[in-house]
């Protein structure tokens, strides 16, 4: 029987490719759902972790690219710690995030992706992360990614920043590290 995979969006070979590129043995998963049962953030996910594995196995590339789950995963490592088959689910989630961005797809959680991008840019510039710069850059980048400015959120962050400043918990001047250039080189690749 000829099956038209296009109709149901199945991409054959996708699972093999993901397993090979990510190094995650996703064929070892037998859907026991231990990952999902221990996951602290399923309440904010559109698909549960074990479902994401099944979706990769089935080659549902487009659904995965649109999934919030891969960004909502907090990398807490509870699932990987408890998986009876040793499937490195957080590593799979990271791989899928990178796949989405490398394909030029819009990440389902623009703010989360923006945070990570701004964070890396901060490291590239200073060698260390400066939290005040990070927050400022994030506000701009996430507003652009989400195409809206959350004024309430901005004010609340600003207020928090002032309180932190009063308590000596926010530094505006990036601390110098002599290895700044070495870090830049790592980014050049």
């Amino acid at each position: 029987m000829q099956v038209n995979n296009d109709i149901i969006g199945i991409e054959s070979g996708f699972a093999r490719q993901v397993a090979l590129d990510s190094g995650v043995d996703l064929f070892a998963c037998y859907q026991c759902e231990k990952c999902t049962n221990g996951c602290p953030v399923t309440f904010a996910m559109d698909y549960e972790p074990h479902q994401i594995i099944r979706m990769v196995q089935l080659g549902l590339r487009e659904e995965i690219a649109r999934a919030s789950t891969i960004w909502v995963c907090a990398s807490c490592e509870t699932c990987f710690t408890r998986c009876p088959q040793g499937v490195d689910i957080p590593k799979l989630m990271d791989y899928l995030k990178q796949l989405v961005l490398s394909q030029g797809d819009k990440p389902a959680e623009g703010a989360v992706a923006a945070f990570h991008q701004v964070f890396l840019e901060n490291i590239r510039r200073f060698g260390r992360v400066n939290e005040a710069f990070l927050m400022g850059a994030y506000q701009l980048k996430s507003a652009k990614a989400e195409k809206r400015i959350d004024v309430k959120e901005m004010i609340s962050n600003l207020k928090l920043g002032i309180e932190m400043l009063k308590r000596g918990r926010l530094g505006f001047i990036p601390k110098k590290t002599g290895a700044k250039e070495a870090v830049r080189k790592l980014f050049e690749k």
Binding site: H116, M164, G178
Partner: protein, 273 residues
Amino acid sequence: MDVTYYPGCSLESSARDYDESTRAVCASLDIHLHELPDWTCCGATSAHSLDEELAVTLPALNLSGAERLGNHMVVPCPLCFNRLKRAQEEVKSSLRIYDLASFIGQAEWLEKIRSRLKFPLDAIRAVCYYGCMANRPPKVTGSVDYENPCDMDNICEALGVDVRPWSYKTDCCGASFSVSRKDIMYNLVKKLYDKALEAEAECIVVSCQMCQANLDLYQKDISIHFKGNYNIPIFYFTELIGLALGLKGTTTWLKRHMVDPIPFLEKKELLRQ
């Protein structure tokens, strides 16, 4: 004892209290910290989320520097600790890396703490909260009791604290979602508050600056959001050691907290500086 010290970025700003108390506690226990010269960011969650190569090369840059110094390396931030340990696996470095709480939780230092105790903290009821990265995954961290870590419990008990058992020691606080998905962090942290109170704790003791930030900086907002009335001081374990050993500077560290722990400690007659 001479050890290499890798503070990590947060300890230069939002977790200055953790850095200051760590340095003071180590000095008082004759642990000589030598800050790794020109250390750089470990890459944190953002590097492993978006760039698997930087997730290794960024921490590895610090490993090579630390190896040259030869001493064991102590890391207060569990996320840095975790990333450095992973990179170590990749680049096959033989450096001995400790997360600070496991380091001070060793029998040698517990003994020293007991022998130098000036002001036992018997009046304090607390739960110890470890978060994710100091223990998980055990394959990386080398942790044995990863579902029920006890280093901080042992330290706090040595200080006289009434340490309450609870099942949420290693639940996630939401980490950087405090920035990008506050709603998720609020839900996770609210649960921690409720479970800590259920265990009859008056305060929460932490060893992670992300946990401290999420539990302390946003406590008022979380109270408003859930129409609750939380007022739970969030201490670094090093601050409690400072308090019990009568170390200079303890009040300065505590004044950096958003949830003011001073009235709580005054009520317990534990502030003597």
